[in-house]
Amino acid sequence: MRFTYLFLFVLSINIKQIIGFAKISKVVLKYYCKFVIISKDYFFTKNVSMRVLFSLLFFISLGFVAFAQEMENHSADAGKNDEVEVISVEKFQDKADSYIGKELAVTGIVDHVCKHGGKKVVIVSEDGKASLKIMAGDKISKFDKNIEGETITVVGIVREKRVDEDYLSNWEIEVKDHHKPEDPEYKDDMAKIEELRAKIKESPKGYLSFYSMDGNSYHVNK
């Protein structure tokens, strides 16, 4: 029975490595082993309920150990921008089209965290002239409102949304389908469409580019 638990423990550690976590830290491992040693007698008690309960606690605690380690790795990864170019949001705005589809680290002040689940933040420059929308990627569960006003560095992939005449025509049809001309939404949307249409006419590219980033990790700059 002891060997079974030992085997399961080793297997769990291996699973941790298979699924991509870094090596477990010595401190975490030390305290975890202490827990296992202290509670080992409970695992082998004749009382079936106690055995089941402590077996369950064993695996739950293992999960917490791994979870803590994952958080540690996550914050460490966010600070490692060695191979990724780090630029300010002002510099990003100057040559955004050259970064489309590339991984980049952008630094800026968090102006706003979306209340709809914290899945989006807007970072800006100090003079407010440059801004970038960051969407939380798969590796960021959400952005917390506490980071509003902090300077952060986000690592992610730059995306471009092109708004051209076709896009505006489709939008126009959609507005006409869903609203009556006297609705305020109709007037607001049509005004926006006309504003964008005028900008497209002035644009040498024939379309407007709106840039955003799919964030993979971030950290608050100290």
Binding site: K115, G117, G118, D127, G128, G149, E150
Partner: protein
């Protein structure tokens, strides 16, 4: 030889024990689910107080950091200052610990204070899968709910079983989402 158990006994045991174990998770996900359903009506994670005010700007210059400090000092927020940025139209947004103040050149002020909702902030944090291990645990929870649902419909015998009264309620519960899909899903 131990006593041979019928499948219904096993279903009852599984339904009962998995149900006990997942009680906490069910409450967490139900409460955060209700909270997140109404995101357009409230912010479930933070309680906010918004105020619109007006001050005389004749003695202040928004380009001066000292004047920005003086303005926020009017609200007793100098100690909570984090940073400030410029906004379009010459406005200045001051970030505070747990709040912000937007000062417009006209003297209009938008003053927002917020604080974490003690329970909902925590359960919403869990709802958004804060890590890979929580993701697995919540997957396990979701699988557990399926097990509870399937075992649940077979544990009762007699006129209230799935072949009697249970069938009526089960079909009713399935028809409601189907009707919704028929009317709204395109």
């Amino acid at each position: 030889m131990g006593k041979k158990r019928k499948w219904r006994w096993w279903f009852r045991v599984i339904h009962r024990d998995v149900g006990y174990f997942l009680f906490g998770m069910t409450i967490i996900y139900s409460l955060s689910g209700i909270a997140l359903n109404h995101l357009n009506d409230w912010d479930p994670s933070y309680a906010k107080i918004n105020n619109k005010l007006h001050i005389d700007m004749s003695s202040y210059d928004l380009d001066s950091k000292e004047d920005v400090f003086n303005i926020i000092d009017v609200f007793g927020e100098k100690e909570n200052y984090k940073k400030h940025i410029k906004k379009r139209g010459g406005a200045v947004k001051v970030f505070l610990k747990k709040g912000s103040i937007i000062i417009f050149p006209s003297g209009d002020i938008l003053y927002e204070k917020w604080k974490r909702r003690p329970v909902f902030h925590a359960i919403n944090y869990l709802h958004y899968n804060p890590g890979r291990w929580w993701l697995w645990f919540s997957d396990f929870f979701a699988a557990g709910l399926i097990i509870i649902a399937i075992t649940g419909i077979f544990i009762v015998k007699g006129k209230n079983s799935i072949t009697g009264r249970g069938l009526f309620y089960t079909i009713l519960g399935i028809i409601i989402p189907i009707l919704f899909l028929l009317f709204y899903y395109s």
